[in-house]
């Protein structure tokens, strides 16, 4: 269930911008970048003992919603709060490819257009009942049934034969979901309309990765599920811990699930309680929690704390600068590029890229915890990441040359467009913490050195809701915008940059781009090397065209009590839900 993690979506959109905007006092932390790279992804492994209580901080300034069900939950905080029980069906390796170490196995057959799922014997809900084929089907039913108001129904999921018909109420069952051994069996065969090469990877969006306890929930009507006590107060899970107590919006208490298929977990009790992000630094310093995530801007404050191990990962996300070159045509459901738009000039976009001193900004404002990224495919995707693409590193001279060559002549301080009209570029940027303003001003100053007149849309940073309102609706007051994406663990960029992707906020559409994106997810791409080649080709193409400039990403650091062992952020150590495998976590002897 990588999706749950990825679901942060827009929260992260502002979040990433913020982490870059971490508050810094001086540029004296030049060596931090190398320090940051030294973070381990896991705490040291040591001999364990049974027992003990673990206190985990949930950092949010609003109470959590508490919909303890993967199919209905909409918030990242909820996923965080239920990570102790909500295990995904499938395990993955470090590049998020399914392996057979989780609660179920999965086998993709390209020719037969099927995925065969076998739930392991002994995988039991916390009431002792075996997880069955019906439980998996039921998860699909919750998502697709209109009454349940799930936000998870997507066109990708509807690649499953019959799901659309079920969604529209034309069929009472999902015809493409077959249970060869019956509802109480453990085998499910999914029949697809089209096979996708990413289907062997968690977070692919075509295969659901969780199950819901049908025997427990069947008496609740779909429309009442979301508010029912069986989901909000007394949920069932098949993960290592079960919910013992809930204080609405504030805390959850978990105790071992005695039926857990790998054995009984070692910690007696885990409490996850909400804490205001403003109190995080103090809480770390006073060791109030055993597991607590560091807010990057507070890093210098907390980094010398005793009694904790700091571990870190680089999340699957990035911030970017996008250029508006077209509009979304809602009727046709596709992006339409305007070749005459102001930003539809490769030289201009490239020069803007060369004008950004991302490295310096990251160094100065984030203690080296943020860094420039060269391409739109993050390094964590392994082979798919093209290490030969270097992106646009700070180079004012080159920027000026490109602009001169492209006919952007200087008239006074600023350049004019090749057609002689004055050039003012409006940048939309989200307001965040105090350092967002100096960072954006810094970029604007650099662009001025290239003779580019960049002004903030509306004259100031824009509040999150208004920002996306403008960007999504192609407001003419936006020429370029600084956003951020949190990604799914399946690397295909189709959802973000294709002709039919509403989230392709730049609205660029080129033949070449469409072709490359299609090829990446084509039948041929089941050949791993072919797919990698296409990914690399696409990254080079995007780098050259510069419709979207990747900007930066940051470490996510967690402070873990030194007495705890087994806590690991590696994808292969996860329960498939993007969180550490709590079965492995225990106190040291």
């Amino acid at each position: 269930m990588k999706k749950a993690k990825v679901f942060a979506g827009i929260t992260l959109l502002s979040g990433v911008a913020l982490t870059l905007a971490a508050c810094g006092k001086s540029g004296s932390n030049a060596n931090e970048a190398s320090n940051a790279a030294k973070f381990s992804q896991a705490v040291p492994t040591k001999a364990t003992k049974n027992g003990g209580t673990v206190k985990v901080a949930v950092e949010t300034d609003t109470p959590f919603t508490g919909i303890f069900n993967d199919e209905l939950s909409t918030s990242n905080t909820d996923s965080e709060v239920m990570q102790y029980g909500a295990e995904s069906l499938f395990g993955t390796d470090d590049h998020y490819v399914f392996n057979n170490k989780g609660a179920a196995t999965i086998k993709i057959d390209q020719k037969a257009k099927t995925a065969t799922i076998n739930i392991k014997k002994g995988v039991k809900w916390s009431d002792g009942k075996q997880v069955t084929a019906k439980d998996y089907e039921y998860a699909y039913e919750i998502i697709a049934n209109k009454d349940s108001k799930s936000q998870r129904y997507t066109a990708s999921l509807a690649d499953l034969v019959g799901l659309k018909e079920y969604h529209e109420g034309k069929a009472s069952t999902i015809s493409g979901l077959e249970m060869p051994d019956g509802e109480n069996g453990r085998k499910v065969v999914l029949h697809f309309k089209n096979m996708k090469p990413g289907m062997n990877t968690s977070g692919n969006g075509y295969i659901w990765e969780a199950a819901a306890p049908y025997h427990y929930l069947k008496d609740v009507k779909f429309k009442d599920l979301m508010s029912s006590d069986k989901i909000r107060k007394r949920p069932l899970f098949f993960g290592p811990y079960k919910l013992q107590k809930l204080v609405r919006g504030q805390s959850t208490t978990w105790v071992p699930n005695e039926y857990y298929y790998k054995g009984k977990p070692k910690i007696t009790k885990i409490t996850a309680s909400v804490i205001n992000p403003n109190s995080v630094a103090q809480s770390i310093k006073s060791n109030k929690f055993d597991v607590i995530q560091v807010i990057n801007s507070q890093w210098p404050n907390v980094k010398n704390t005793k009694g904790v191990n700091f571990i870190a990962t680089v999340p699957l996300s990035y911030s970017y600068l996008g250029f508006k070159v077209g509009k979304w045509d809602a009727k046709k459901g596709e992006n339409v590029m305007n070749p005459k738009s102001k930003m539809n000039n490769k030289a201009l976009r490239q020069a803007i890229g060369y004008g950004m001193n991302v490295n310096q900004v990251a160094k100065r404002y984030s203690y080296g915890l943020s860094f420039r990224i060269p391409t739109l495919i993050p390094k964590q995707f392994g082979d798919y990441f093209d290490k030969d693409v270097k992106g646009y590193s700070y180079n004012i001279k080159k920027g000026n040359e490109i602009l001169d060559k492209a006919g952007y002549k200087k008239k006074g301080t600023y350049r004019v467009q090749p057609n002689g009209k004055p050039l003012t570029i409006h940048l939309a940027a989200m307001s965040g913490n105090a350092n967002q303003e100096p960072i954006i001003q810094n970029y604007i100053q650099q662009w001025k050195k290239e003779g580019l007149n960049v002004k903030l849309t509306g004259g100031r940073l824009i509040e999150f809701n208004s920002f996306y309102d403008k960007v999504q609706n192609d407001d003419p007051s936006v020429d370029m915008f600084m956003g951020a994406w949190s990604l799914s663990s399946e690397p295909s960029p189709n959802d973000l940059y294709s002709q039919t992707a509403p989230m392709n906020y730049s609205r660029f559409v080129t033949k070449k781009n469409t072709q490359l994106l299609d090829e990446m997810d084509s039948q041929k791409a089941f050949n791993h090397q072919y797919r990698i080649d296409k990914f690399h080709e696409w990254q080079k193409y995007m780098d050259d065209e510069a419709y979207v400039l990747p900007v930066s990403n940051s470490y996510t650091i967690t402070a873990v009590n030194k007495k705890l062992t087994g806590y690991s952020l590696k994808p292969s150590d996860s329960m498939g839900n993007g969180f550490p495998n709590w079965y492995n976590v225990a106190y040291t002897k």
Partner: protein, 319 residues
């Protein structure tokens, strides 16, 4: 007087209609909606659109407004877009938290403010008075949020005497355990809030006593040989409490509306916090319901104050 109360209640109806209309329109004018936070590569914008349509967000505003009002008459405040539970249950939950916190705060405020005010008024211009005045200027000049954060840092983190957030500990069990934990979570914000909130009461009381001390009826009482203590408590103090009683109505209804600042600083899940969250998350149903409730509380508070005044001060009669 009953006639008056009835009339006042009737006037409230148009007031509330105007308030609800304004509230509703302003809420709708905010950019974004409850679903804008859900757009990411893993949700299908078409599904989000379908949910928006199903939630009636594309209906004309008056259709939405009348639907909302219609439901109000059935006692249905709608379902929270964010929390996905009925707004009534959400508010009941939070109102409960806020009520006890406010009650504790109010008790503490009065038990600090009244003795201080009396001392200052009685010993006018002596050192006691100066002390109280200094305390008063400090509390008046200190912004609440600075004071709370400072208190939180000092007593919550550095000394670790009090919990730093929430309304009850995750580990509390049993009736007494939960009660104790709740009290423990409440007492600190209540003390901080009360300390800041005393200013007005102290000042009114002090001024009242100082003014009344030189009134003719006091001189008469003294010249009749009434003991000084009786003069003070029966004549001066009673009259000096009038201005405080004038606020009593709003204090009572204020028990339910809570404080945004203190609840935010302490992440205390009460009405004030709920109000702030519902704005930032565009939770229209919760937001409009809350403003309506706050509006009703204020109107009732004013009415209560007037009634209380007319009862304790025979000179005032509601016409």
């Amino acid at each position: 007087m009953w006639k008056t109360i009835l009339r006042r209640l009737l006037i409230m109806i148009p007031q509330l209609i105007i308030l609800s209309l304004l509230v509703f329109l302003l809420a709708k004018m905010m950019p974004g909606d409850p679903f804008s936070g859900s757009i990411n590569p893993n949700t299908d914008p078409k599904q989000i659109e379908a949910l928006r349509r199903a939630a009636g967000l594309y209906d004309p505003w008056y259709v939405q407004y009348f639907r909302w009002v219609g439901n109000l008459f059935h006692g249905d405040l709608g379902t929270s877009y964010i929390q996905h539970v009925p707004v009534t249950s959400l508010i009941a939950d939070r109102a409960n938290n806020t009520f006890w916190l406010s009650l504790l705060t109010t008790i503490l405020t009065y038990s600090i403010a009244i003795p201080l005010g009396i001392t200052a008024g009685r010993h006018q211009d002596q050192w006691q008075d100066t002390g109280v005045q200094i305390f008063n200027y400090i509390t008046l000049a200190t912004p609440g949020f600075v004071f709370y954060i400072l208190g939180l840092w000092l007593f919550g983190f550095t000394l670790g005497w009090f919990p730093i957030s929430g309304s009850v500990s995750a580990n509390a069990s049993g009736f007494w355990g939960v009660l104790g934990s709740r009290l423990y979570h409440m007492i600190f914000p209540a003390i901080l809030y009360a300390l800041i909130a005393t200013t007005g009461t102290v000042q009114y009381l002090r001024t009242g006593i100082v003014d009344n001390k030189v009134e003719d009826y006091v001189r008469t009482a003294r010249s009749k040989g009434v003991p000084e203590n009786v003069v003070f408590h029966k004549h001066i103090l009673r009259n000096s409490l009038l201005p405080i009683a004038a606020f009593l109505g709003n204090t009572i209804t204020g028990l339910l509306s809570g404080s945004m600042i203190i609840e935010s600083v302490f992440s205390y899940p009460g009405m004030g916090k709920l109000f702030l969250d519902s704005i930032s998350q565009r939770d229209y149903t919760t937001l409009t319901a809350l403003i309506l409730i706050f509006g009703i509380l204020t109107l009732i508070g004013n009415l209560l104050s007037d009634i209380i005044m007319s009862i304790i001060d025979p000179r005032i009669r509601i016409q």
